[in-house]
Assembly symmetry: C2
Homo-oligomer: 206 residues x 2
DNA sequence: CCCCAAACAGACAGTTCTGTCCACTGCTAA
DNA sequence: TTAGCAGTGGACAGAACTGTCTGTTTGGGG
């Protein structure tokens, strides 16, 4: 009953994909340690030995999940949607928070898997923690590129500050604040204004 | 060797305190699930039965830890230090990020236990997740009071936005950005300016 | 037709975790 | 002196976890 014939046929033509897709669903919504290998293989309709043939360990599967998350979330969703939804780079940056606003309304809102996984492992030396931090850095890279295109002053500092807004709003959404994206967007407007070239870098007085 | 006679004498005059202190250290630095009861009782120099006499379960101990965290961190550190370090309420708000800056330089930086625990349990219905979210709300309450004293416009919205900066900078510090507090402070200045009464609430144009 | 590679189910080892229990010890107060 | 109480150390049950292994099934290419 757990694995129907149909599921099996599916499995035949891509056990690895089924495993990775299932891992994506489970890991992103419930975290790493809360999902056991037994549950994972059952949900994927796959034998345990098959999982361990495709992935040498659970950690290796976690790394593959994070890579998938970057493809689907960072690039496939945030970057591409933000670029499509607005005309100018500055508006594209702000559009990130329009996306977030829709995301935060979801009942099964899962948060940022890179933040979640990093805090779950809490060790930048561990391969999984390291990978999480690296993928977060790649998000900043997307932001930095938009900042460059928008001709903003000091794109590196801008991206770091902008990312604080992104992460802060995501964590706040996990707390239950459905309007967190709107607040972050307002702050984003102030930040963009602050990084306009016309804007002086000089002292803001005491 | 694990429990010296001195440790034992200590235990005698306050086993509960020793357990809670040890839980505070271990849970705040390594998270909840990563710390087992066996390790905890050994580090506390206490018998397992003693722990379960004072706390009916590990979850109950986690709740006591979170309460302790609010006392020591939220009120005993953030609130009281911020109020002492500056004269005006607006400067006291900004002083929060001076505190954070010092905090972020620590080699054993542990992050915000309320965020960490909330994301670890990822369930606002679970008592531990609920408590974490509640304690985060209490942090906002501290911010809101300072905003009121600073006579800022819409203290509730201000506190929510300000908290995004606090949490975002903490997560970014966990990634390794030691200057995250400075960036958040700069955003904080913009936010305070935006909430000054003289500042118009009216449309910011399209 | 038949063989082989891939996937199957599921038992198993070994560890780790929470929580319970029991017999023993030492201090303190009546 | 003695009774009570708080704590000790360690064994134990029961569950859950990762990873291994055995033997079986199945479908497609030579």
């Amino acid at each position: 009953m757990a694995t129907t014939t149909a599921a099996r046929r599916e499995a035949r033509q891509g056990a690895r994909e089924r495993i990775l897709d299932t891992a994506y669903d489970l890991f992103s919504h419930r975290g790493i340690h809360a999902v056991g290998v037994d549950e994972l293989v059952e949900r994927a309709g796959v034998a345990k030995a098959t999982l361990y043939k495709h992935f040498p360990s659970k950690h290796a599967l976690v790394l593959a999940f994070l890579e998938q998350r970057e493809q689907l979330w960072t690039h496939g969703w945030v970057e591409s949607e933000a670029r499509q939804r607005a005309a100018t780079p500055a508006e594209q940056l702000l559009a990130i928070f329009d996306l977030f606003h829709e995301w935060f309304q979801a009942d099964d809102f899962e948060g940022c898997s890179f933040i979640n996984t990093l805090l779950e492992f809490r060790d930048l030396d561990h391969p999984v923690g390291r990978a999480s931090a690296d993928y977060l850095e790649n998000i900043r890279s997307v932001v930095r590129n938009l900042a460059l295109e928008a001709d903003l002053r000091d794109p590196d500092a801008f991206a770091l500050a902008w990312h604080i807004l992104m992460k802060g709003s995501i964590v706040q959404a996990a707390e239950g604040d459905r309007d967190a994206a709107k607040r972050a967007q307002m702050l984003g407007r102030l930040l963009i204004e602050h990084h306009r070239h016309e804007h002086g870098t000089a002292a803001d007085a005491a």
